[in-house]
């Protein structure tokens, strides 16, 4: 398991044109223009390796997992469980049984909220999150807190778009039962100091969930180094299929958690007098899982590790830095947050132009960006804007595309003088 993790640390030349050649969609045209895809925070294009892995599974014969005694079922089960081992290695988990396949990061968070946090919450207890969370890391906690009459406590973000760490620490109280925060902000691109935050929580005896939906595609994740209790990721945001995600959970914590959903696959024995459940991960995977999703996600992970997570990080950092430099020099453009550590996203607004109109004009040039609240309305409120434009960088973007973005924005300024 450690072998692949070692391998990804070795530095190598990052050839972005070679990377681009692996993505059929990037050769396509949008509104008659070559596609410049800068909406990677929302979802990503898929490399041939992922497309072919799924196609191979369907074409070579497909069986259900964990039940058939026939060749196809055995083959599919092996591929599915191999995928689990791959994700575990990618996160540097100790044991593949610490990885549970879910429908996405959202379901993974809900699973933890329901099966781990809800049974531990009593009236007046607290769950600590941050102001920069995606709705998926807000709403599950609101629901569980409401139900248990517990309090959802929110740590503030400063004007640079960074988490106020001393405020976070001060908000950890003797009623805090759980903390959840994002590794990388989907709006601001801020990279949180995960290891430090986890230490602060553990010092108070508070278990932690880290939302890695934006981090897993672009940073090296080491759950042992972070000492995170739970870490979640989303397949489609990391060049894999939609409808698949993963939850990492420490083995001893998973072992004591009740099932999240009931059904086939997750049971040992079903009787009218009562049912017994599988050990994790099986206990948390009710029903036939998203087999092709898991296998496609493993192919995406292989693809990312082949490029090297450290190489990806420095490539994306250079492209984003170019974008920030260009945007910061433009009249009427205001970048939301200037974090010291940025990964992926640049959010901005243009004085006198609504983000929708910016996105529509850029779309006319084949440039795909996101306009809206980015599923982070409380953060928008913090910065006093209803919406922003977000350009989010992925492994295949280039500095030249940042120049094209700036060119497109100059056109926006002309239309809306």
């Amino acid at each position: 398991m450690n072998g692949s993790h070692q391998a990804e640390r070795t530095s190598r030349r990052y050839d972005v044109e070679e990377v681009r050649a692996q993505f059929p969609a990037l050769a396509g045209k949008v509104r008659g223009k070559p596609l410049i895809y800068l909406d990677n925070g929302a979802t990503t294009q898929k490399p041939k390796a992922v497309i072919e892995a799924i196609e191979r599974l369907y074409a070579d014969g497909y069986g259900n997992v964990h039940r058939g005694l026939h060749e196809l079922s055995e083959r599919t089960t092996q591929a599915y469980e191999r995928a689990r081992v791959r994700i575990a290695a990618f996160l540097n988990a100790r044991d593949a049984r610490e990885v549970i396949f879910t429908r996405g990061a959202t379901e993974a968070i809900n699973l933890v909220a329901r099966s781990f946090v809800a049974p531990r919450l009593e009236q007046g207890d607290e769950v600590l999150i941050t102001e920069m969370e995606h709705h998926s890391n807000i709403v599950p906690w609101q629901l569980v807190c409401e139900e248990k009459q517990a309090k959802l406590v929110v740590a503030p973000v400063n004007d640079d778009g960074e988490l106020d760490i001393s405020a976070f620490e001060a908000l950890l109280s003797d009623r805090t039962r759980f903390a959840a925060f994002t590794h990388v902000s989907n709006v601001l691109g801020t990279v949180n100091p995960v290891g430090q935050l986890v230490r602060l929580c553990h010092h108070r005896g508070v278990p932690v969930l880290v939302d890695g939906a934006q981090a897993a595609p672009r940073l090296r994740v080491d759950v042992q180094e972070f000492d995170a209790d739970f870490y979640v990721l989303s397949g489609h945001k990391m060049y894999g299929p939609t409808g698949i995600g993963a939850l990492y959970g420490k083995r001893d914590l998973l072992a004591e958690m009740p099932p999240y959903q009931g059904g086939g696959e997750m049971i040992l024995e079903v009787k009218w007098s009562g049912t017994t459940f599988q050990e994790p991960p099986g206990r948390f995977e009710a029903g036939t899982p998203n087999i092709e999703g898991a296998i496609g996600l493993a192919a995406a992970v292989d693809f990312l590790e082949e490029l090297g997570m450290d190489a990806i990080e420095s490539h994306e950092r250079a492209v984003a830095a170019r974008g920030v430099e260009l945007l910061a020099g433009m009249p009427r453009v205001r970048i939301l947050g200037m974090p010291h550590e940025r990964a992926g996203a640049i959010s901005f607004s243009i004085e006198g132009v609504h983000p929708h109109d910016v996105a529509a004009i850029l779309d006319g040039d084949g440039i795909a960006v996101r306009a809206g609240h980015h599923c982070a309305q409380p953060l928008m409120e913090r910065f006093g804007v209803p919406a922003t434009v977000r350009a989010s960088v992925g492994i295949y973007n280039t500095e030249r595309e940042m120049d094209a973005l700036a060119q497109g924005l100059r056109k926006v300024l002309e239309v809306f003088p």
Binding site: H354, G364, A371, Q377
Partner: protein, 150 residues
Amino acid sequence: MDEALRELYQEVILDHYRHPRNFGKLDDEARSVLGNNPLCGDRIEVHVRVCDGRVEAVGFEGTGCAISTASASMMTEAVKGKPIEEALAIAKTFHDMVMEGAPGEELGTLAVFHGVREYPSRIKCATLGWHALRAALEQSQQVVTTEADG
């Protein structure tokens, strides 16, 4: 800029965006309905004062893109002083034009929104204020959302 975009951002639309007409509240007697586009967070509140079956006064407030703001602004000009039935008929013609592609020639300047059809994600911007107007005239709801468009 290509042809379709140029049609979307015609001068008259940009002008109403920069200088929205009838922008602001009416008195307390007015009926108010908030139009909400949950997809983008745009909110436009429409106020109408009805007297003797006519739209005596109409105003709107809120934040929105060029399309939703200009559409609401031009809507207020189109329905001001009109009998309720006629205002509702204009709303229907506008709706049919942007949703179904009906010609909408009888709408006069409002026909500039015909081009919005090329951009399905923007249709809801164009209809936001109109949804609120209709609810205010029909006294059906206090808050409407574009998600009822289907």
